[in-house]
Structures are given as C-alpha cells and as structure tokens.
C-alpha cells in the first residue's frame, strides 16, 4: 500500500542521512554535500533567531494594542528591543553605543538575577531536609557541604585533608563524581541517539509535519 510521505519528513530523512553519514564515511563528495547542508543550516538558524525576535515583538504588541493587564511593561520591552536593534543597525553591534547598552543594562540585570539565585538557593537549602529525609538526600547534602567547604578556605583557614589537590574535595570530584557523570554522559548520548534516529526516520515529527 502506498503511503504518502509528507515533504517535511522527506527533507528530514534526506538531509539527516547525508549529514550523519558524513561523520563516519570519509568520502569527498559526501563531505562537500555535508558541508553545504551544514552552512545552509547555520544561516537558517540565524534567520530562526530573527523570526523569534519578530514573534516576541508581535506578542507584546498585541498586549499593548489590546490594552491588557501590565501592557505598559510590554511597551517598555518593545521600545527597548527596537532601540537596541536600531542602535546596532546604525552603528554596528561592536560599536561603543551598542556595547554601552550591553554593558550597562544587560550585564548588570543578568548578573543581579544570578546574585539573587545565591539568596534563593541558600533559602532553599535551609529548608531542604524538611521535605524529604532519606539516605540519598543525606548523601546529596553531605557531598554539597564537602564540595562547598573544600572550594575555598573556611574563614580563611584551609583544613588539611579537605582542601588541596589531594584533599577530600578533590577525591570526590575525581572519583565518585566522575563515575556518576560518566554514566550520565553515556546515558545522555544513548538517549540522543535514540531520539535522533526516531526523528530521522520520521517516527517523531517535532517540526509540525
């Protein structure tokens, strides 16, 4: 029985096979085709970023025109986006004006948000054991404490056996943490292969096909 394969699925399978084979088969023609497809994908990824910015503008513009709640914040977002884009378009993204906006607006706000995370994490870790008290949470907590204490001297004092290249912190980082991380990495790799092959065979269609 003939089954219609959508165009999108055909594209996925076609380009996916060429790119994937280029990893394992060293063939000049295949390498050239792979390179062409990769460069086109690189360009289209940048276009996708532009589409995302346009969509963001669209969403917030609708909020402003619809006079929804908190639409004034959306107006600020729209104005700041357009202003930054215009500045970069006129003077270049490496210009002093663009870098001024980047250095004095984006960096401070994002750094402050990360700094808030320290307060929130401390608050959360204070209440950590209230939720769940079992062996694994105790191991988790103990490891975190050892790693934190071993990262820097405690009140300026280095504890022998904890700090230093041969200390407990280094040992935990080099042996059990590596073991667990290696298992996680291999697991991630296997999962990536499974998911990727499903998409390349057309079983999963996250692109709306």
């Amino acid at each position: 029985m003939r089954q219609k394969i959508p165009i999108s699925v055909s594209i996925v399978i076609g380009v996916g096979i060429i790119v994937l084979l280029g990893y394992f088969i060293k063939f000049p023609v295949l390498a050239v085709m792979q390179q062409i497809l990769l460069q086109w994908a690189l360009t289209l990824a940048a276009v996708a970023l532009l589409v995302g910015a346009i969509n963001l503008l669209n969403v917030h513009f609708r909020r402003v025109s619809g006079r929804q709640k908190n639409s004034s914040y959306s107006l600020i977002l729209i104005l700041s986006l357009l202003f930054t884009f215009a500045l970069g378009a006129l003077f270049g993204p490496k210009s002093a004006w663009s870098l001024w906006v980047f250095n004095h607006i984006q960096v401070p706000v994002e750094s402050s948000l990360m700094g808030l995370l320290a307060v929130v994490l401390a608050f959360a870790s204070v209440r950590m054991l209230r939720r769940q008290l079992n062996l694994f949470s105790l191991v988790f907590l103990a490891t975190a404490l050892v790693m934190l204490l071993g990262a820097a001297p405690v009140l300026g004092i280095e504890i022998p056996g904890l700090h230093g290249p041969d200390g407990l912190r280094a040992l935990i980082a080099q042996v059990p943490a590596v073991a667990g991380a290696r298992g996680i990495l291999i697991g991630i790799g296997l999962g990536t292969i499974a998911t990727g092959l499903r998409v390349l065979m057309g079983a999963d269609r996250p692109y709306g096909g």
Binding site: L44, N103, G180, L197
Partner: protein
C-alpha cells in the same frame, strides 16, 4: 573604579547599572513593579542585541551580500537558503504557519544528525573507551598503583551502576518496590553515585551564583563607597 575617572557616558552608564541592580535586588522583599520594569527592559535589550548580532554576523554576510554582490554561482548557491528563509518567516502567522514546516524540518534534520553523530563520535565511543582504559596499567603512576586500581574499580562500578539505574531502576515508579534479584542492589549503588554527582553540581551552582552576588556587591561598593568616603 572611581566615579571621577569615568566619562560622562560611563558615569551615566554606571548609575543606570546601579539603579538596575537595586531594582533587581528589591525582589528579596517580594515581587514589585521596579523588578518587573528591570526584567522587561533586560528582555528587550537582550532580544534586540541578539537579533542585530544574528543579522550582522550571519544573515547579512551569508545570505544578502552573495545575493546582491556575489557572482552568479554564488547567487544560485544561496537561492535554496533564501527560499527556505522566506518560508520560515511564515511561522510568525498562525494562519500560514504550516508553510514554514519544510524549513523547520530541514533545521531539525541537520541538528539531529549532528547531535547523533557527535554523541557517537565525541561521547559514547571515547567514554566507553576511557572506561575500558581505566585498567591500563601502563597509564597508572608508578607510585600508588593500588590506589589507582581502587579508584579505577570505583569509577567503573559507578559508571555501570549509574547506567543500570537509568535503564532498569528509573522505569519503575519512584516510590515503587525495588527491583528483585541482583539488579536491585546495583540500582541502589547507582543512585548513591548519582546523588554524589548531583551534590557536586549543586555546590558548583551555588558557587557560581555566589560569585555573581559578590561581583554585584563589589559593584555597589565601587559606586557607593567613593560617594560615602569622598574626601
């Protein structure tokens, strides 16, 4: 840093940064309008800057310059990405969103193939090889071979039990009965190694966040202290 050493533009920038930092830190006392204002401003600036970098650095030189100034061959070369890029813009409209599916499919196909190839070539093969090479005695230091061997056993055990937990232990419900037989104790050991790894990750996350906090506090100090202690 001294405020007096700053130019007017930099002084204004410093004051803007200072104000925004305080506005974000006001979240400690609860959600408020100043915090939201700062966040929306930040989102707009970051999206705008990302868009201009993408256009300036990729779209303009890769797509438009060859189309406008390039030779015939180069124009033909960019015809396909140009058409696909045009179709991708239809994703903005819900009505004609389906027209952008071929381009999305192209991106997904290339991305997935790259991910699969990289996982095989860059992670699975080398890491499995590394696990096997743990017992390469030639690589072991002369002194402390026993310790090296013990470490290697521990690393191998941890790697295997972690994988066993992911593929046999996680399938069960979180609070369900443990696996019977020899799989059960192994998944339990794997959970211990995973707990240690996540504990290390948590410590690293807190360290990074604390450093960001310290950097901001330093910045505030750089602004305020000269004002307080100006001779």
């Amino acid at each position: 840093m001294s405020l007096a050493d700053l130019s007017l533009v930099d002084l204004i920038g410093a004051l803007v940064s200072f104000g925004l930092t305080l506005m974000v830190f006001s979240y400690v006392f609860g959600d408020n309008a100043l915090f939201r204002l700062a966040i929306h401003l930040f989102i707009g600036v970051s999206a705008g800057y990302a868009a201009i970098v993408a256009f300036y650095n990729v779209v303009w030189p890769q797509l438009l310059i060859p189309l406008v100034f390039g030779p015939q061959a180069e124009r033909l070369y960019v015809l396909v990405p140009l058409v696909l890029a045009g179709l991708l813009f239809f994703k903005v409209t819900p009505r004609f969103s389906a027209l952008g599916n071929p381009t999305a499919a192209y991106l997904v196909g290339v991305g997935m193939a790259s991910a699969v190839g990289g996982a095989v070539v860059g992670t699975i093969y080398p890491q499995v090889f590394a696990s096997a090479n743990l017992f390469d005695l030639q690589a072991a230091p002369q002194a402390g071979r026993l310790l090296y061997f013990v470490k290697s056993v521990a690393i191998l055990l941890g790697t295997l039990t972690t994988l066993i937990y992911f593929y046999f232990g996680v399938q069960k419900s979180p609070g369900g009965a443990p696996e019977k037989g020899w799989i059960g104790p192994l998944t339990w050991i794997g959970q211990v190694f995973i707990a240690i790894t996540f504990g290390a990750i948590f410590a690293g996350v807190y360290s990074a966040a604390l450093m960001a906090f310290i950097e901001r506090v330093y910045f505030i100090g750089d602004i305020l202290l000269p004002l307080i202690f100006t001779p």
